[in-house]
C-alpha cells in the first residue's frame, strides 16, 4: 500500500462524484423528454426512427406492456445474435476465417450479451469474426445497456408518479437512451481511446516477424469503439481474450483510470436522475452513499489484501504486494481498484487475473457480485437492484416508526414485498444452486484448474458472475464445455429477467398508488441513519446467505494461507 495508491483511489472517487450531477441532470432531461443541447441534431433522427418503426412516442405503456415489449425485443435480439454466431463463417467481415460457433457456446454467448453479462467462454480474437464482434456483440452492448437504464427509469417513474396507470414507453426510453446518452458519449470516448493508442481498424490481423525470426500474428480490429461501450454500458466483454489487461484495449495508466471512471459514471449518475425525478436530490445521494459505503469498504479490503501480498511468499522473505497476474503499468492500486469497480458495477471487464488475487482480495469481487451488483451496479440494473433492497429495508425497519412502511410517499405493501423477495430469491438460487450442482457432478468438477477451496472459489465465482450479470471470470475455470455453457447461460438469463420483471411489477404497483405527503412521522430516507440501515439489510439479507459458501472458499483459503498451508497437493 502506498500513498500514491490511496491518492489514486481518492481521485477516482472525486472524478465519479463530479460527474454525478451533470450527467444526472442531462439524463433526467433526456428521459422526461425535455430539450437538451443535442436535441437540434438528434431530435430529427429520433422522430425518424419512431416513424420508421411506427411508434407513437406519446403513447405510454402499462408495466405489463412495457415488460412484454422488453421481452419480445430481447427474444429477437437473442435469436439474431445466435444466428450471427452460428453463421459467421458464411458472413462477410471475417478476415481471420473464423468458423461457426458451437451451439452451446453460441447459446452461452447470446445469453451473455443479451443480459448485459458479457461472460466470455471464448477468446474474441480466436473465435469471432469482425462482423460478430461489431454487429452481433456491439449492438447488444448498446441495447442491453440501454435496456437496463430504461428499466431503471421505468421504476423511478413508479416512485415519482401518483395514481398513474403507465410507467413510460419502452421503445421511447430505449431509443432516447441509445441516441442521447450512449452514442454521443461513446463517440467522444472512442476518440480518447484512439488517442491513448487503442486500435480502431477493419484491417486484417497484422503479421510480424520477431527478432528471432518467428512469425507472429497480432490481432487487431475495431477495438476502441467496442471498448467504449463495454465500459460505459458496464458490459465488460473484451475484444480480446485478455480483456482490459490487453495493451490494445487498455494501453496506459490514464486509459485505465478513465475506463474505471466510465464504468461507474452512468450508474452513479442514475441515482441523481432518481433523486431529481422523485423531486428530492437528497434521496438520490442517500442511495449513492449506501453504495459508496459498501464500495469503499470493499476497496480498502482489496487494496490492503493485495498490497500486503501473499503470506506464503512473505514468509520466504519476498516482501511487497501481490503482483501476480497484474499488469505492471497499472500496478497494485490500479488493479485492485479496477477489480472492485468492475465487480461492484456489473461490468466484468478485467485488467488483472482475479484468480491470482490473494484470497481476501478475491473475496471482495465475489461478495460484490453476490450482493446482486447493487454497488453502483450495471447501468440501470444497479439502481433497480438497489431499489429492490430499499423496498425490503424499508419494509423491515419502516414499521419501527409506527406507520405502515412507506418510501417516498408510496406505501410498501404485500405486492411490493412479494416482488422484491422474488427478485432477491433468484440470485442465491442460481448462484448457490448451480454451484452445488457443479461441485458434485463430474461435468462440473472437471472445470476448475485448482484443487481445494480455490477450485471451489473458481466454480462459485463463475456462477456468481453469471447470475449477477457481471461477466468477469476468476479465470482458471474451463468454462467452454456444454455443462458450463448451458448452466451459466441459464444463470445469466434468470439473473437478468427474474429481477427485471419483478422490478417492473413494483414500478407498476407503485405508480398506481397515491403519494402520501411527508410529515414529521414519516420514515426519513435521506440521512445517515437510512444509509446505515440499508447497508445493514443488504449485508444481512443479501450477503449472509453466501456466508457458508464463502467460508468454504476464499475464507478458508485465506486462513490456511495465513497459517502457511496450501491445497495444491490435496487434489492433484
Amino acid at each position: 500500500m502506498t500513498l500514491a495508491g490511496w491518492i489514486q483511489i481518492a481521485l477516482f472517487c472525486a472524478a465519479v462524484l463530479a460527474l454525478v450531477k451533470p450527467l444526472g441532470l442531462y439524463m433526467t432531461r433526456v428521459f422526461s423528454g425535455a430539450r437538451t443541447p443535442l436535441s437540434p441534431l438528434l431530435r430529427p433522427v429520433e422522430r425518424g426512427l419512431y416513424r420508421l418503426a411506427g411508434i407513437d412516442e406519446a403513447h405510454e405503456q402499462h408495466w405489463l406492456a412495457y415488460a412484454g415489449a422488453m421481452l419480445v425485443f430481447h427474444a429477437a435480439g437473442f435469436v439474431l445474435l445466435y444466428a450471427i454466431l452460428r453463421l459467421q463463417g458464411l458472413l462477410p467481415f471475417n478476415p481471420a476465417d473464423q468458423g461457426a460457433v458451437a451451439p452451446d457456446l453460441a447459446f452461452n454467448t447470446a445469453a451473455s450479451f443479451v443480459t448485459n453479462t458479457n461472460w466470455q467462454n471464448y477468446g474474441g480474437e480466436s473465435t469471432l469474426s469482425y462482423l460478430s464482434q461489431m454487429l452481433g456483440l456491439t449492438h447488444q452492448n448498446f441495447l442491453s445497456a440501454a435496456t437496463g437504464i430504461a428499466l431503471a427509469v421505468a421504476l423511478i417513474r413508479g416512485f415519482s408518479r401518483a395514481s398513474a396507470r403507465t410507467v413510460g414507453s419502452f421503445w421511447v426510453d430505449l431509443t432516447r437512451c441509445t441516441l442521447y446518452v450512449l452514442l454521443p458519449l461513446c463517440v467522444v470516448y472512442t476518440l480518447f481511446l484512439v488517442w491513448q493508442g487503442v486500435p480502431q481498424t477493419l484491417a486484417p490481423y497484422a503479421e510480424a516477424t520477431t527478432l528471432e525470426g518467428a512469425k507472429q500474428t497480432i490481432a487487431l480490429g475495431p477495438v476502441a469503439s467496442q471498448v467504449a461501450i463495454k465500459m460505459l454500458g458496464t458490459n465488460g466483454g473484451g475484444f480480446f481474450n485478455a480483456n482490459a489487461a490487453h495493451p490494445f484495449e487498455n494501453p496506459t495508466a490514464v486509459s485505465n483510470f478513465v475506463q474505471m471512471v466510465s464504468i461507474f459514471a452512468l450508474g452513479a449518475a442514475l441515482t441523481n436522475v432518481f433523486g431529481r425525478m422523485v423531486g428530492d436530490e437528497r434521496q438520490g445521494w442517500a442511495i449513492l452513499a449506501a453504495m459508496g459505503v459498501l464500495f469503499l469498504a470493499g476497496t480498502v479490503v482489496t487494496y490492503w489484501a493485495e498490497g500486503s501480498g501473499n503470506p506464503l511468499l512473505n514468509a520466504l522473505g519476498l516482501q511487497g504486494g501481490n503482483l501476480e497476474g497484474k499488469e505492471i503499468r497499472f500496478g497494485i492500486p490500479g488493479s485492485a481498484l479496477f477489480a472492485v469497480v468492475t465487480t461492484a458495477a456489473s461490468c466484468g471487464a478485467v485488467n488483472a487475473m482475479h484468480d491470482a488475487f490473494t484470497a481476501l482480495g478475491g473475496l471482495i469481487p465475489l461478495v460484490n457480485m453476490q450482493l446482486g451488483e447493487i454497488i453502483v451496479g450495471g447501468v440501470g440494473a444497479g439502481l433497480y437492484g438497489m431499489l429492490v433492497f430499499v423496498v425490503v429495508a424499508i419494509f423491515v425497519a419502516g414499521l419501527m416508526v409506527g406507520r405502515t412502511p412507506e418510501y417516498l410517499g408510496k406505501k410498501i405493501e404485500a405486492r411490493e414485498v412479494k416482488m422484491a423477495m422474488l427478485a432477491i430469491l433468484c440470485l442465491p438460487l442460481m448462484m448457490l444452486g448451480f454451484t452445488a450442482l457443479a461441485t458434485v457432478l463430474p461435468a462440473g468438477l472437471s472445470g476448475p484448474a485448482n484443487a481445494g477451496p480455490h477450485g471451489f472459489s473458481e466454480i462459485l465465482y463463475a456462477f456468481t458472475s453469471a447470475a449477477a450479470n457481471n461477466g468477469s471470470a476468476f479465470a482458471g475455470l474451463s468454462g467452454n464445455t456444454p455443462f458450463y455453457n448451458l448452466t451459466l447461460g441459464t444463470g445469466m438469463l434468470v439473473g437478468r429477467f427474474f429481477v427485471i420483471i419483478p422490478a417492473l411489477a413494483i414500478a407498476g404497483a407503485l405508480a398506481a398508488k397515491k403519494t402520501v405527503p411527508a410529515s414529521a412521522g414519516t420514515f426519513p430516507t435521506d440521512g445517515g441513519l437510512f444509509v446505515g440501515l440499508l447497508v445493514g439489510v443488504i449485508l444481512i439479507v443479501g450477503g449472509l446467505t453466501f456466508f457458508p459458501s464463502l467460508a468454504l472458499g476464499p475464507i478458508v483459503e485465506h486462513l490456511a494461507g495465513a497459517a502457511g498451508q496450501t491445497f495444491a497437493a490435496a487434489g492433484g
Binding site: 414485498v417 422474488l422 414529521a520 457458508p548
Partner: protein, 704 residues
C-alpha cells in the same frame, strides 16, 4: 373490562390453558396459517422420524441429535404458547362479557302496539333470542334490553356497566344522538319503546366477544405482507442450507442432517414468526382494555398511519361549558358595578355560564352571594326569543344576554318593570356612543375566541362579561406531541371563524373548520384523502355517519346513534372523543412492535452464523476454527447453544410482544434511531452474549 382492571401478563389462570393450547395448536391444519412455524414443525417431524429409525437401527451421536430435535419441538411449542397466552387474555375478557349476557325475555309489541304512541300494555312475552330485526319491544324499569336496538319512543336511564364497566347510568332517548341501546344493558328507570336492529347472535356484545376472543381475527394487510417477507426469507435459507451438502461433499466430508436442520431453523426468522400473531392479538387487546372496540385489525393498523385528526371542539378540545373570565365595563361604569349587576342577574341562573359569573364576581370583587328571596326579586328566564335572561328587583331591572339582543331591547319601546306599587315605566336610554363601545368590546372578545355577554341595568348598558371557552389543560401539549408524530390536527366547530381561529390558536391545533356542517366535514375528509392522507375522526350523531364511514379511522361514541355505530370502524365504549389520540398511539405501538421484533429476528442471524458455520465445517477445514469468535466449547455445544437460544428468545420476548414496544412522541427520525439501536444493533449483539452463556451452561452440564 374497566380500564383500571389490569391483569398481569402471566397470571396463573392464563398459564395452564395456554400450555394446553400450545400443544393442541400443533395440529398442522392450524400451523399452516403461520408459514415459518409450519416449516419448523415439518422439519421437526421429519427429523424425529429419522431419529426413531436411527434409534432402532443404531446411529451416531444419538444423544446430541435427540437434544436438537427436542429443542426444535420446543421452538414450535413456544410459538404456540405465545399465541395461546395472547388469546387467553382475550378469552378471559370474553368470559366476563358472556356472564353479563343473561337469558332475557322480551316484551314484544305487535300490530298497533308497535307504533309510536300505541298501547304499551299489549305486549307478548317472548324469549329474547327469538327477536328478529325490525321487531319492536317495550323495555321498562328493571328489564334487560333483549338485543341491540334504537329507541323510537320514550326516555330512560340505562345501566351500561356490562359493556363499559362504568356504573353511572346513562340517558337513552328517542330522536336524538343518544338513541342507540345495547342488548344486555339494563333499564333503571322509565320505559322505552325499542326497535330491534340486530338479530340474536350478532349483537354488539356478541361481536365484542368474537373480537376479544380473536375468533373474528383476520390477518391485516401489513401482517400479510410481513408473512410474505418471512416466507421469502425462509426460502432464501432453504437455498443457503440446501447447497451445503454438495459444498461439503466437494470438500470431502458430510454434514449430519441434524446439524443442517439446526442451522436452517436458527436462520429462518422464527422469532418474529412465532410472535407475529401474538402481537396482533395483543394490539387489539390493548384497545379493548382501553374500552375501544376495533371492528377489524385493519382499523388498528390504519390508526397508526393517520395523518390528519379531526377533533370536535366541544368536549374534546374545550371543556363543555364556557366560563366568565372578565368584566369589561363601558366608559363611566366601574368594573365593580358591572360585576355587581352581572352577579345579581345570574343568581338564579343555573346554567354553568351563569354560575361561573357568580364565582368570578366573588373571586375578583368579593361580591357575596345574595338570597333571592330576601331581595324580593323575580327571575326572568332565558328564552329563545328574547335571547336574554335577568332579574327584576326593587324597581330595578337587570338584563344580560347576546350583545345585539340586549342593544335591540334597549332600542325598543318603553317597558313596564316591577310589580304592584313599585311598578314603573322604564324609558330606554340607549346612548349610541355607549352601544358602539359595547360592540367594540364584544368584537374584541369574539376575536380572542370568547363569547361576549352584554349587561344592562335599568335600560343602561353597563358593559360586557367575557365568557370564554376553556381549553382543556394539557391539550396543547398533546397537540404538540401529535405534531411531532407528524399528525395534523383539525378542530371542527360550529363557532364563527373568528372565535374558532382564536380557540384554535390557544389550543394549538394546526387548522380548524368553522361553522362546520356534516357536509363540510365529509368534504374535508375527502380533500385530505385525495392528497393521500389518512384521516381519523370521531362522531356520535346520525349526521356524522357519512363522515365516519368515509374516514379511515372512524370512532363512534357508544352513546351515539345506531347509524353512527354502524358507520365507524371503532366504537369507544366510554364515549370520550379525546381517546382518538390514544387510539393513534396504540396503532403505532402495534406496528412498531412488529417492526422491532422483525428487525431483531433478522439481525440475530449474524451471531447464529458465527456459532454454527465454524462448528459445521471445522471437521472439513480445521482453519475455520478462527471464525468461532465466541470461542464456543465444542462444535456440538455451539450448535446446541444456537438452537436453544433460538427457542428461548421466543419465550423471553413474549412479554414485549404482548405489552408492545413503548411509544414516545418524538418524531420518526428519533424513534427510528432509538429502535434501530435497540432492536437492530441489539439484535446483532444480544445473541452473541446469549449463545455464549448457553454454551457455558451446556458444557458445564455436559449436554454436548
Amino acid at each position: 373490562m374497566a380500564q383500571t382492571q389490569k391483569s398481569s401478563l402471566f397470571s396463573a389462570a392464563l398459564i395452564g390453558p395456554a400450555c394446553l393450547g400450545a400443544v393442541t395448536k400443533l395440529d398442522p391444519r392450524q400451523m399452516v396459517k403461520n408459514p415459518v412455524m409450519f416449516v419448523v414443525e415439518v422439519v421437526a417431524a421429519f427429523t424425529t422420524l429419522l431419529f426413531v429409525r436411527d434409534l432402532v437401527s443404531g446411529g451416531q451421536d444419538l444423544a446430541f441429535t435427540g437434544q436438537i430435535i427436542l429443542w426444535l419441538w420446543f421452538t414450535v411449542l413456544f410459538a404456540n404458547f405465545a399465541e395461546a397466552v395472547a388469546e387467553g387474555r382475550g378469552k378471559a375478557q370474553a368470559d366476563s362479557l358472556r356472564r353479563t349476557r343473561t337469558e332475557t325475555t322480551a316484551k314484544r309489541l305487535a300490530g298497533p302496539a308497535a307504533a309510536i304512541g300505541g298501547p304499551r300494555e299489549d305486549y307478548g312475552t317472548v324469549p329474547g333470542a327469538s327477536l328478529k330485526v325490525g321487531d319492536v319491544v317495550l323495555v321498562e324499569a328493571g328489564d334487560v334490553i333483549p338485543s341491540d336496538g334504537e329507541v323510537i319512543e320514550g326516555i330512560a336511564s340505562v345501566n351500561e356497566a356490562a359493556i363499559t364497566g362504568e356504573s353511572a347510568p346513562v340517558i337513552r332517548e328517542s330522536g336524538g344522538d343518544r338513541s342507540a341501546v345495547t342488548g344486555g344493558t339494563q333499564v333503571l328507570s322509565d320505559w322505552i319503546r325499542v326497535r330491534i336492529t340486530a338479530a340474536a347472535g350478532s349483537t354488539f356484545i356478541d361481536r365484542m366477544i368474537a373480537l376479544v376472543e380473536g375468533a373474528a381475527r383476520q390477518k391485516t394487510p401489513n401482517e400479510i405482507a410481513l408473512n410474505i417477507l418471512l416466507a421469502g426469507l425462509t426460502i432464501v435459507f432453504v437455498f443457503a442450507v440446501g447447497s451445503i451438502p454438495s459444498f461439503a461433499a466437494y470438500a470431502g466430508g458430510a454434514i449430519p442432517l441434524a446439524v443442517l436442520v439446526a442451522l436452517f431453523v436458527t436462520l429462518i426468522p422464527t422469532t418474529i414468526g412465532a410472535l407475529l400473531s401474538a402481537i396482533g392479538i395483543a394490539g387489539m387487546d390493548r384497545l379493548v382494555r382501553f374500552n375501544v372496540l376495533a371492528m377489524s385489525g385493519r382499523a388498528v393498523e390504519a390508526a397508526g398511519d393517520v395523518d390528519t385528526l379531526l377533533l370536535d371542539k366541544t368536549g374534546t378540545i374545550t371543556l363543555g361549558n364556557r366560563q366568565a373570565t372578565a368584566f369589561r365595563p363601558v366608559h363611566g361604569v366601574t368594573a365593580e358595578a358591572l360585576a355587581d349587576a352581572a352577579q345579581l342577574a345570574s343568581l338564579a341562573d343555573e346554567t354553568p355560564e351563569g354560575r361561573s359569573i357568580v364565582v368570578l364576581a366573588k373571586e375578583t370583587y368579593g361580591i357575596r352571594g345574595r338570597d333571592m328571596g330576601s331581595l324580593n326579586a323575580t327571575f326572568v328566564p332565558f328564552t329563545a326569543q328574547s335571547r336574554m335572561s335577568g332579574i327584576d328587583l326593587d324597581g330595578s331591572s337587570i338584563r344580560k344576554g347576546a350583545v345585539e339582543a340586549v342593544i335591540a331591547s334597549l332600542d325598543s319601546a318603553p317597558a313596564l318593570v316591577g310589580a304592584g306599587a313599585a311598578a314603573r315605566v322604564l324609558q330606554p336610554r340607549l346612548d349610541p356612543a355607549t352601544a358602539q363601545e359595547v360592540r367594540a368590546i364584544a368584537e374584541e372578545i369574539a376575536k380572542a375566541g370568547g363569547t361576549p355577554l352584554a349587561v344592562a341595568r335599568d335600560g343602561q348598558l353597563l358593559g360586557v362579561v367575557h365568557l370564554k371557552d376553556i381549553v382543556k389543560g394539557g391539550i396543547s401539549e398533546r397537540f404538540a406531541e401529535l405534531r411531532r408524530m407528524g399528525i395534523r390536527t383539525v378542530m371542527i366547530t360550529g363557532d364563527n371563524p373568528m372565535t374558532a381561529a382564536a380557540i384554535a390558536a390557544e389550543a394549538g391545533v394546526d387548522d380548524f373548520l368553522a361553522q362546520a356542517t356534516p357536509e363540510d366535514k365529509l368534504a374535508l375528509i375527502r380533500r385530505e384523502q385525495a392528497q393521500g392522507k389518512l384521516v381519523a375522526m370521531c362522531g356520535d350523531g346520525t349526521n356524522d355517519a357519512p363522515a365516519l364511514a368515509q374516514a379511515d379511522v372512524g370512532v363512534a361514541m357508544n352513546t351515539g346513534t345506531v347509524a353512527a355505530r354502524e358507520a365507524g370502524n371503532m366504537v369507544d365504549l366510554d364515549s370520550d372523543p379525546t381517546k382518538l389520540i390514544e387510539i393513534v398511539e396504540i396503532g403505532k405501538q402495534l406496528l412498531m412492535t412488529r417492526g422491532a421484533l422483525t428487525t431483531f429476528s433478522i439481525a440475530n442471524d449474524v451471531a447464529k452464523y458465527f456459532a454454527i458455520i465454524p462448528a459445521m465445517f471445522v471437521g472439513l477445514y480445521p482453519q475455520l476454527q478462527a471464525l468461532n469468535v465466541m470461542r464456543l466449547a465444542s462444535p456440538q455445544s455451539a450448535i446446541l447453544s444456537a438452537i436453544i437460544f433460538n427457542a428461548l428468545i421466543i419465550v423471553a420476548l413474549i412479554p414485549l410482544a404482548l405489552r408492545g414496544v413503548s411509544y414516545r412522541a418524538v418524531g420518526a427520525a428519533a424513534l427510528l434511531r432509538r429502535n434501530l439501536l435497540i432492536y437492530g444493533l441489539g439484535g446483532i449483539l444480544v445473541p452473541f452474549v446469549g449463545i455464549k452463556l448457553i454454551d457455558l451452561a451446556v458444557s458445564a452440564l455436559h449436554l454436548a
